[in-house]
């Protein structure tokens, strides 16, 4: 128990209340908001910070903003020192000193008690426009941050309780849709108001000193428990790599180095920053790392500076993940921030998956592309209206070591996101949905299957004139971006197609029934949609865990019954033979043997080893060191691959396959491949790496395994 003079009961009460403050403020923000992304998508965040700007309690919403807002508070503190007054509110959105990109606006308010600052509340929303070259805040055409709109390192937005009209009007003057941006900012004011009221009530009830003492103790508690957890995990280096396809293919690499009770994230090897806004700034990378770390490793602890302390980041300056000003960064949240999230999830999961105690917290990649759109159009009565898509929030869950990923299970960093109903979107914008449905076979195959994604199509409807669409797809169309864990395969590829003058009259209801003479495959950019132009988007499936041939056939049969997996994929990918809804066990056995044999190039595989042979030297689902700690062996068949110090991938059977080996909606041939590594004994797939061109395997190293220490 944490040493403190506050009794444990008061401690619990205050801990509880601090979190509740952020929750209540987030609800106020949602209620007061004017956009589907905030009110329905919950693309928002409210957190509490201590008097020095360090994180007190990370709250609800989009959690990659939690540490970024801490930077923002520190900036405001430094800039306005001596001029910070009671009931002031500050506005901050500069991506090079804290924010993720310019449209992510933070409002920050000091909370005064007895004439001194007790702490800060900071909230964020993605405003509907920030005055960049392209509408909506995402600017595909920008070539520097000067074309990405208004950015400030701190403005006094409210002075001693009074909104500064000069500042407010200036902001509204530089944005495209001032009405909705005004509502965005006003809704943040509602959240700030609610959080402050609750905090003042807390100070009044328990005294600032007591609340401070509890938050100090909470930071110490989180740090102690996080360090303890780290020290129980193996020491080693785990690597991951991902790509970003545009004209050139970008490569982003990450190694997680865990030593004792510290964790270092090293992006050395990542490509240089590029000409368009897919780059991200240092603090955006920092925030994105924590989004996955919080959820995977410490969901039960208070998210505060105690979690931040043991972590170090190496991000080469001028690289994609630490862009130098004035490089454009407005696409970061749907580009590099997402890549960082995918990579950190992958390396952390491999680390967790190398521990018998923590493997349950390892996960294959969740929804990996964050693909969305922004529309501008004209309503019937001539008003200009804008709309952000919310389909992206549907997401999909990666598979875990004991269960399938959740179909449309959301995104890992968005604690409470959801899409807006079609009827909600159709109320706010002159268009309509043709369909919105699950994509069969989209989940990454594995012993546990990745969650399915969905596809949808919209057309302009009920407005006047064409609709301008800022489209932000462009990655995941060719490269599989979800990374399977320990033999799991990636989910399907994405697609963004405009069916010019499509067959709207036929009421198309899925991709197969959607047609036009000239379908256009879209990349990142801007296009116009006319009345019968159908905009079709397919998201990406989440990745699987373990070898699909290791999947319980009953689960496959159930997936077929529910329309989640096709009979063809069941047979080809899972080796499960089903006739008229019933499994043919003999057929399955034969099919699985055939596939294993094929993996070994025709050689007969070894059978499954009897009994539970798990040692404490776990490498992954199928690999471990034997009891002696000297040999890498296959858990499934007992085959000894190599010595403990050898790189096991060099001793596995390697096959290079197209992504389509995982099922339909995956690229059949192109620049990206899957590197499959099979056990030379039983042909179990041990790992699947995604590689571009001649890129080779990723090698992880484990130095030592640690014991679970007694929880104090």
């Amino acid at each position: 128990m944490t040493q403190t003079v506050v009794d444990p009961f008061t401690f619990e009460i205050i801990r509880h209340k601090l979190f509740r403050v952020t929750e209540e403020a987030a609800i106020a923000l949602e209620n007061a908001s004017g956009t589907s992304i905030t009110a329905e998508g919950h693309d928002l965040m409210v957190s509490l910070y201590r008097a020095d700007g360090s994180l007190m309690v990370g709250g609800a919403g989009f959690i990659q903003h939690i540490t970024s807002a801490s930077q923002a508070v520190k900036h405001v503190l430094a800039k306005f020192s001596g001029d910070l007054n009671e009931d002031d509110v500050y506005l901050f959105n500069d991506p090079y000193s804290g924010a993720l990109h310019a449209p992510d606006v933070y409002l920050i308010a000091p909370i005064f008690w007895d004439g001194r600052i007790g702490g800060f509340v900071a909230g964020f929303v993605h405003v509907s426009d920030i005055g960049g070259i392209d509408p909506g805040g995402f600017c595909p055409r920008a070539r520097s941050c000067f074309e990405e709109g208004f950015a400030t390192q701190g403005l006094k937005f409210v002075e001693r309780g009074k909104l500064r009209d000069d500042v407010f009007q200036t902001i509204l003057n530089v944005v495209r849709d001032p009405g909705i941006v005004a509502l965005d900012l006003k809704s943040l004011m509602a959240a700030i108001h609610v959080a402050k009221e609750r905090m003042l009530a807390l100070y009044s009830r328990y005294g600032l000193e007591t609340v401070d003492e509890v938050s100090t103790a909470l930071v110490a508690q989180s740090e102690a428990r996080f360090r303890q957890r780290l020290s129980e995990l193996p020491d080693g280096v785990w690597r991951s790599r991902t790509y970003y396809e545009q004209e050139e293919v970008l490569r982003i690499e990450l190694a997680a180095i865990k030593a004792g009770d510290t964790l270092t994230f090293d992006f050395t090897g990542t490509d240089h920053q590029v000409h368009n806004g897919v780059n991200c700034s240092y603090w955006a990378t920092w925030g994105s790392l924590f989004a996955t770390l919080f959820v995977l490793v410490v969901p039960d602890l208070v998210w505060n500076d105690g979690i931040v302390a043991p972590v170090r980041l190496i991000a080469p300056e001028g690289s994609l993940v630490n862009a130098r000003r004035p490089a454009p960064v407005s696409l970061a949240t749907i580009a590099m921030v997402q890549s960082v999230r995918n990579l950190s999830l992958s390396v952390i999961s491999k680390m967790l998956g190398a521990s018998n105690d923590y493997v349950a917290r390892a996960t294959a990649t969740w929804a990996p592309t964050n693909m969305t759109y922004h529309l501008t159009g004209t309503s019937k009565d001539g008003a200009s209206v804008t709309e952000h898509g919310t389909d992206v929030y549907a997401g999909c869950g990666g598979a875990l070591s004991t269960k399938d990923g959740l179909d449309l299970g959301g995104q890992i960093h968005a604690l409470s996101s959801r899409w807006a109903n079609a009827e909600r979107h159709e109320t706010g914008f002159p268009y309509r949905y043709l369909y919105r449905r699950l994509v069969i076979d989209s989940g990454g195959p594995g012993k546990y299957r990745g969650g399915l994604c969905h596809e949808y199509a919209v057309i302009p409807h009920g407005g006047s004139g064409p609709v301008t669409a800022v489209l932000m797809p462009g990655r995941g169309m060719e490269a599989p971006l979800s990374q399977g864990l320990f033999g799991g395969y990636p989910g399907c590829n994405t697609a963004c197609i405009v069916f010019r003058d499509g067959n709207v009259a036929d009421t198309p209801h899925d991709l197969a029934s959607t047609r036009s003479d000239c379908p256009e495959h879209m990349g990142m950019g801007i296009t116009e949609l006319d009345g019968n132009d159908i905009l079709y988007i397919r998201h990406e499936g989440a990745a699987g865990y373990g070898d699909p041939l290791d999947r319980d056939p009953d689960l496959v049969v159930n997936d077929i019954a529910l329309g989640l997996v096709s009979k063809e994929a069941a047979r080809e990918v899972y080796g499960v033979v089903v006739a008229e809804g019933v499994e043919d066990p003999a057929g399955t056995q034969a099919e699985r043997l055939r596939i294993r044999q094929q993996r070994l190039g025709g050689r007969l595989p070894e059978g499954r080893r009897e009994g539970d042979a798990r040692t404490r030297y776990r490498i992954g689902e199928y690999l471990q060191l034997d009891e002696s700690g000297l040999t890498v062996e296959c858990v499934w068949c007992g085959h000894a691959l190599c010595g403990a110090d050898d790189r096991w991938k060099d001793y596995a059977v390697e096959r290079i396959s197209p992504p389509s080996v995982g099922g339909p909606f995956r690229v059949k041939e192109g620049r990206f491949h899957l590197l499959e590594f099979f056990c030379p004994g039983c042909a179990t797939v041990l790992d699947v790496d995604v590689a571009y061109g001649d890129d080779g395997p990723l090698y992880d190293t484990i130095h030592s395994w640690n014991e679970l220490t007694e929880d104090q």
């Binding site: 969901p299 299970g409 890992i412």
Partner: protein, 693 residues
């Protein structure tokens, strides 16, 4: 003499209240009898004989109205004993149910803390499997224009397919049907022609509000629940008929009003949690009786703590209504609950005390019951603190074992914490109280309500030992333990009215042309009157209430503002409504949060038709002497403030109206134990409510 009879079926007990013409109330209780609950009803009706002196047949012969609340709806959902059903939806949207708006399905209904553990999130199994959902190539747009009519032939094929696939009921939910129900009506025609007797629900009738996911889910829940409710109510009516009652029967709805038994199955979803809501309605009635317009109602029994707010006779409705994380968009009065009550288990997690949510339930129960419980519960702590007494507890039906409770508490809690048992028990009590406090805080202060303006009404067996300590923390200075506390749900039934509501969604600027607004209201009023007449009530009995959902233009969510003003409304009334909306907004979100420049708009229109029913005229008794001495039992040591203190203890049954007791004191009744803290007083009013102040 004629009677109104009310029966409320709960998990453990079936409660009965009988009110005669003079307003005299008789109460009775029997054990509930799952799975055929109608037997428990008959037993409870038999039990009232002790009060009225009438045997069952005599009572029912003279009964003019039978009122009913039941937990059968939520039970069927929890137990999964629902009807196989089929669903027709707009083609292309067949997956709406199982997609659950993406991530929403993972986190909705979880606490904020549970939402943080994203990996552990699960979606509930869809109410209707995809094999029983068929898409129809139809479409209506947001303006209500039919773009593609639903064709009879396609509907017929779909309905046959579903019935042949095992559906025993059929539902339909098409996009934008709440703007134009034409295509859904075509489905109804076909279904009625093919299967005249099958249970059928259409979304444009049950829940005509925006949001296809929630509307579909509402229909799905209703078609799965409907036949269950239909059968149950049929059985109950049959059972009552056997005993001679064939008169009118009204069933409680979670919106707080009564609905005729004939109309109830079509609106089965409305019965979910209607029992606890009935208790809330009873609280409002007591508030009216003893002139307390603002009430915080709290119910603390064995497994859950429930709370609701009554404001000037009104009860708030719930946000994102769901049951077991299945959403539905019918109005339900807001009841919040946490798994913290007498049976909640106390444990240590990483050295910190935790209470609940695990409950020892009735079996094995608290350690002190001696039914085999080994983990200490809140009731054990209450016993250790000296509040409980075997002679009075549950009417003397359970012998309380202090030593066993002390042993268990020492072993699992106080010794590991290195604390004295009493000190630790008092700390547990404080923690339990603070958790309840947080919940109540959320329901009051965090909603902009000032609890100091409220009285707390408290019922359920465990409430009396906790609420007298929690209420002052919230600044509440009056706590009422109603005389009806033991059968409060049934009491709520005899306090309720017949209610019928209609809502519609239409976006109009505020202020705008009054005739257009009046026309919308007129249409809703006409629909309300029609359905009230269908329940054999006259139009002139109905009191009409109008409600408007208002927001700043382009906002997503609205605030509901009751309409007062002329009928029909004139421009001035609309201006007044607008300024009331702004005042409400500022109160909630602060002075700089409103965006007046955007203008305001109306989004939803609601009409509530209320047919007031006769209330029991609870008889006032003359106030007697102040001294409670005739009820004095003994002086006992119990925990008050921060130490063990001598407290005077009283027997509730022997207290008289007018008696006053000063704290520290304990009052024992067969249904609850009331702890009166030092500095507090309790007074028995002329209705034998205990009022702590």
């Amino acid at each position: 003499v004629s009677y109104v009879v009310a029966v409320d079926i709960g998990g453990t007990f079936t409660d009965c209240v009988v009110v005669d013409e003079a307003g005299t109330m008789t109460v009775a209780k029997a054990f509930s009898t799952p799975p055929d609950f109608s037997e428990g009803v008959v037993n409870a009706l038999r039990a009232q004989e002790a009060g009225t002196g009438l045997v069952l047949a005599e009572l029912l012969e003279r009964t003019t109205l039978f009122l009913h609340a039941t937990s059968i709806a939520e039970n069927a959902i929890v137990d999964g004993t629902l009807t196989p059903a089929g669903l027709l939806v707009t083609r292309g949207f067949e997956d709406a149910l199982r997609m659950m708006r993406g991530g929403y399905g993972r986190w909705s209904g979880l606490t904020e803390e549970a939402k943080k553990d994203v990996l552990q999130g699960e979606k509930p199994v869809p109410l209707i499997p995809s094999s029983m959902i068929v898409g129809i190539a139809e479409r209506t747009d947001s303006a209500g224009r039919v773009l593609a009519p639903a064709e009879d032939e396609e509907i017929e094929r779909a309905v046959r397919q579903l019935v042949e696939g095992g559906a025993e009921s059929i539902g339909v939910c098409f996009l934008w049907s709440f703007r134009n129900g034409e295509n859904e009506q075509r489905v109804r025609k076909v279904v009625r022609k093919l299967y005249p007797n099958i249970f059928f629900t259409m979304s444009s009738e049950l829940s005509p509000v925006e949001g296809e996911y929630e509307r579909t889910s509402t229909v799905a829940l209703n078609v799965r629940l409907g036949p269950v409710i239909e059968r149950y109510l049929g059985r109950l009516r049959g059972r009552l008929a056997e005993h001679g009652y064939t008169g009118p029967m009204l069933v409680m709805q979670a919106h707080g009003g009564l609905l005729s038994v004939d109309a109830a199955p079509a609106r089965s979803v409305g019965m979910i949690e209607s029992g606890p809501v009935s208790g809330l309605v009873g609280s409002a009635a007591i508030g009216e009786l003893i002139d307390l317009p603002k009430i915080l109602a709290t119910d603390m029994g064995g497994t859950t703590f429930k709370a609701g707010v009554v404001r000037d006779g009104r009860i708030d409705v719930e946000r994102e209504t769901n049951v077991l994380r299945y959403h539905y968009s019918l109005q339900k009065m807001e009841i919040v609950s946490i798994g913290l009550a007498g049976g909640s288990i106390i444990s240590l997690e990483q050295g910190l005390p935790k209470i609940g949510p695990r409950s020892a339930g009735a079996l094995p129960g608290p350690v002190c019951y001696g039914f085999g419980g080994t983990e200490p519960t809140v009731t054990d702590v209450d016993l250790l603190l000296g509040y409980l007494d075997s002679r009075f507890f549950l009417g003397g039906r359970a012998e309380l074992n202090v030593d066993a409770a002390l042993d268990a508490f020492r072993r699992t809690i106080s010794d590991p914490l290195g604390m004295e048992p009493i000190e630790a028990a008092a700390a547990v009590q404080r923690l339990a109280n603070s958790m309840i406090y947080d919940l109540l805080h959320k329901q009051t202060i965090e909603k902009g309500l000032d609890p100091t303006e409220y009285a707390m009404l408290s019922y359920g067996g465990t409430a009396g030992m906790h609420m007298t300590s929690i209420a002052p923390e919230l600044g509440i200075s009056r706590i009422i333990i109603p005389h009806s506390a033991s059968v409060h749900g049934a009491f709520g039934l005899v306090s309720a009215d017949i209610v019928h509501s209609e809502v519609t969604t239409r976006v109009l600027p505020l202020p705008s042309d009054p005739p257009e607004i009046n026309a919308i209201f007129d249409e809703l009023v006409a629909r309300v009157l029609e359905s009230v007449e269908a329940q054999n009530r006259r139009r002139d009995e109905v009191v009409i209430e109008r409600l408007l959902g208002i927001r700043y233009q382009r906002q997503v969510h609205a605030i509901t503002v009751p309409v007062s003003g002329r009928e029909p409304l004139v421009l001035e009334d609309l201006r007044e409504i607008a300024s009331r909306f702004e005042a409400l907004y500022t109160e909630r979100y602060g002075p700089e949060a409103g965006y007046r420049e955007a203008g305001m708009e109306l989004v939803s229109f609601g009409v509530r038709g209320v047919v007031p029913l006769e209330r029991p005229h609870l008889r006032k008794e003359a106030l007697g002497p102040v001294s409670p001495e005739s009820a004095y039992v003994e002086t006992k040591r119990a925990y008050f403030g921060d130490s063990m203190t001598d407290a005077r203890c009283y027997d509730f049954e022997r207290l008289r109206p007018g008696n006053r007791i000063e704290g520290p004191a304990i009052v024992w009744s067969p249904i609850t134990t009331l702890v009166v803290n030092p500095g507090q007083q309790v007074r028995c009013d002329e209705y034998m409510n205990m009022i702590v102040f």
